[in-house]
């Protein structure tokens, strides 16, 4: 049996047992997704999109699905992974953990809870049916297809029209790293975030490992931002040192929306994050803002696609990487300006700081512009600490070591400064400082 077939076999037993209670529309999506996964199979480095990232650690290990949930950690054990005291959903190995989560219903009709129960209930079930697996392009990605095939639970956020939230909502996805019957396990975290017309909300997704076991987390997030809404999505990846993570984040913005997607990648031995942002209505603005801090032999690959489907939209993309020891960072930034998407304003930068001679960064912009009245700029850098900056700081009395520390921190701080939620920014600042020593 080849590797993909093993997952298909796992799917069959999942669909036979665990899928009970799912509505027909979802069963249909899953069937389509597993069929697509079987067609696609796992990618290889021969494929352009995977040129720099080998998924051999995933393919070569027999990951199984946990048959029964493991005992959950206590709230005190996960406290340090939470950013604020606001409403939260905690999931362990992709399953909702009610005792660690806040009540699903919040003031103003806001919902933050389990995706499985949202699917089962009338109005939220309709919303889920309208959006779930309708945005993330699982037909193009074996990993998103696999996640979708195993879709059973996840986090569900609904912010009704006109509601402005003061506190960020937190979604915490924990991987227990517990062994299944056949060794290490895989889980498929899933988020559906629906922010309706004119609403204002910030959502923090944290992905974290509970131990240092080998595990695989295969996540998909869909966020939909309705007309005139303002939203921020924070995505903090703190997987365990031997964890493997593949993730897809898909955002869709209607007209006159503002969305900030902030990505901080710190963990996992191997991480691949595909972010697709569709500017589907005129006047939409996107800030795609990311930071990866890697050391040891960590590998993190961010593939972003910004799809300017409508005119008068702006996208500003900034990704900074700090790579120490033997770490490898990959950034691929594709910007598509569709025919008719006139007056597009798009800016992309990717700067990589190499702290050792063995660290490596690959940076590739990909601009596909099919409209003529557009402003698109891109730039990328890969290199060690800038000697002129270092000298400037030293000429003010700072030691070479202190100056290097400040310049390295500056790479991260530049990204953190674009975050609008003070509490989240401060917590991430603390994590970044801790990471940089």
């Amino acid at each position: 049996m080849n590797v993909a077939d093993r997952y298909v076999a796992d799917y069959k037993s999942f669909a036979g047992n665990g899928a009970a209670g799912a509505p027909p529309w979802l069963k249909q999506i899953r069937e389509g997704a597993i069929a697509r996964f079987a067609e696609l199979g796992f990618p290889t480095t021969k494929q352009e999109e995977w040129r720099f990232t080998s998924v051999a650690p995933i393919v070569d290990t027999r990951f199984s699905h946990l048959a029964s949930p493991i005992p959950h950690p206590g709230l005190s054990e996960i406290r340090s992974l939470l950013i604020g005291a606001g409403p939260r959903v905690v999931l362990v190995d992709g399953r909702y953990a009610p005792e660690l989560s806040s009540p699903a219903g919040q003031p103003g009709g806001v919902q933050v809870g389990s995706l499985a129960s949202a699917i089962r209930n009338g109005p939220s079930g309709d919303l889920a049916r309208e959006h779930l697996a309708r945005h993330a392009r699982w037909r193009d990605s074996a990993f998103a297809a696999l996640n979708t095939a195993f879709l059973a639970d996840g986090a569900f956020v609904h912010v009704p029209a006109g509601v402005a939230l003061e506190q960020p909502l937190e979604l915490l996805f924990l991987s227990s790293g517990a062994s299944g019957t056949d060794g290490p396990t895989v889980s498929h975290p899933r988020s559906l975030i629906v922010i309706e017309r004119g609403a204002e909300a910030a959502v923090v997704e944290t992905y974290a490992g509970l131990g240092d076991a080998v595990y695989w987390s295969n996540a998909v997030t869909e966020i939909v931002v309705g007309e005139g809404a303002r939203a921020e999505l924070y995505r903090v990846q703190r997987e365990g040192p031997r964890g493997l993570q593949v993730a897809t984040t898909h955002s869709r913005q209607e007209r006159d929306t503002t969305l900030g997607v902030h990505v901080v990648t710190l963990g996992a031995a191997l991480a691949r994050h595909d972010i697709t942002s569709v500017l589907a209505g005129t006047g939409a603005e996107l800030i795609l803002n990311g930071l990866y801090l890697l050391s040891d032999a960590q590998h993190a690959d961010h593939h972003t696609v910004i799809d300017h489907a409508q005119p008068h939209c702006a996208s500003h993309e900034y990704f900074n990487g700090v790579l120490a020891e033997r770490a490898h960072g990959v950034f691929n930034g594709r910007i598509i300006v569709r025919p008719g998407a006139q007056r597009t304003d798009s800016k992309q930068t990717n700067n990589n700081l190499l702290l050792s001679t063995e660290a490596r960064a690959d940076s590739q912009p990909q601009l596909e512009i099919y409209a003529d009245d557009v402003k698109c700029t891109h730039g990328s850098t890969v290199g060690p600490i800038d000697q002129t900056q270092l000298y400037y700081l030293r000429s003010r009395g700072l030691s070479a070591e202190a100056a290097r520390g400040i310049l390295t921190y500056g790479f991260g701080a530049e990204i953190l400064d674009r975050m609008r939620q003070p509490a989240v920014r401060e917590e991430l600042d603390r994590l970044v400082r801790e990471r940089l020593g």
Binding site: Y391, G397, L398, I406, Y409, E414, I415
Partner: protein, 263 residues
């Protein structure tokens, strides 16, 4: 304009002897001699490419320049043997001609880190963020800035004039013994020049000294120099009083090139 009148000669602060320096293998400084005493303001003028900025950068310790001969004594110590940060801690300050932008680091953070590095060196207690802000207020006002400049990243997105003002803010905050201003006046409008010049002038004390590297006469109408030097082709070819600056303003530099060639 501040007339300092007649006074006793100060102590020798900086002594440059037959200084030679190269950048990327090309000799730029070809035997510079200069003595600066406390309480003095020296103006170093000269045509483009004469080595003015090289001299300033060599004194601050820029790693791209190689000293190939000569000596520089600062308070009697070998300045060239010191790392750039040691020079700064001992009281040498260079206002850069092209200040460097540092993204992600606020001006406030940078200034406090610099002040505290120097305080630590002197064995003085380091300042916390609040104390530091209090101490900064007056200096900020002097250069005509509000505190919004402190939360912006260092020189990032600053106009040319703002960058120069930022150098002067650092000068005021760090309060060095030897201030070297490398074409700080270039690119400033009249008002900005006046503000910058007044700030520099107010920092003059009997125990410090200023070296103004400039291309233009006009800053010297605000900061009166004690000595004016002309640097041409890597050497000081002429020194004199402030009248020399006026003469240069009228006659340009070409007559000195000829003079230097003859010499």
């Amino acid at each position: 304009m501040t007339g300092k009148g007649k006074r006793e000669a100060g102590k020798v602060l900086l002594e440059i002897k037959h200084l030679h320096a190269t950048v990327e293998g090309t000799e730029i400084l070809k035997g510079v001699d200069l003595t600066v005493r406390t309480g003095e303001v020296h103006a170093i003028m000269g045509p483009n490419g004469s080595g003015k900025s090289t001299l300033a950068q060599v004194l601050a310790g820029h790693p791209a320049y190689t000293v190939t001969g000569g000596q520089v004594l600062y308070e009697g110590k070998d300045l060239l043997a010191m790392a750039p940060e040691e020079r700064a801690r001992e009281g040498v300050f260079l206002a850069f001609q092209y200040p460097v932008a540092i993204r992600g680091i606020t001006n406030a953070y940078f200034l406090r880190a610099a002040v505290n590095a120097i305080r630590k060196h002197k064995g003085v207690e380091e300042l916390g963020p609040v104390e530091f802000m209090d101490a900064l207020e007056e200096k900020l006002t002097a250069i005509g800035w509000d505190s919004s400049y402190l939360t912006r990243p260092v020189n990032d997105g600053f106009s040319g004039g703002e960058k120069k003002r930022n150098e002067i803010l650092q000068l005021a905050v760090l309060n060095p013994k030897l201030a070297i201003l490398d074409e700080t006046d270039s690119g400033l409008d009249i008002d900005a020049l006046k503000t910058v010049a007044q700030t520099v002038d107010k920092l003059r004390r009997p125990d410090n000294a200023t070296v103004l590297v400039t291309h233009y006469y006009r800053i010297l109408t605000h900061i009166e120099p004690d000595v004016v030097h002309v640097l041409a082709s890597g050497r000081i070819v002429k020194s004199g009083g402030k009248d020399l600056a006026l003469e240069l303003e009228e006659k340009g530099y070409d007559w000195l090139r000829t003079e230097a060639a003859v010499a």
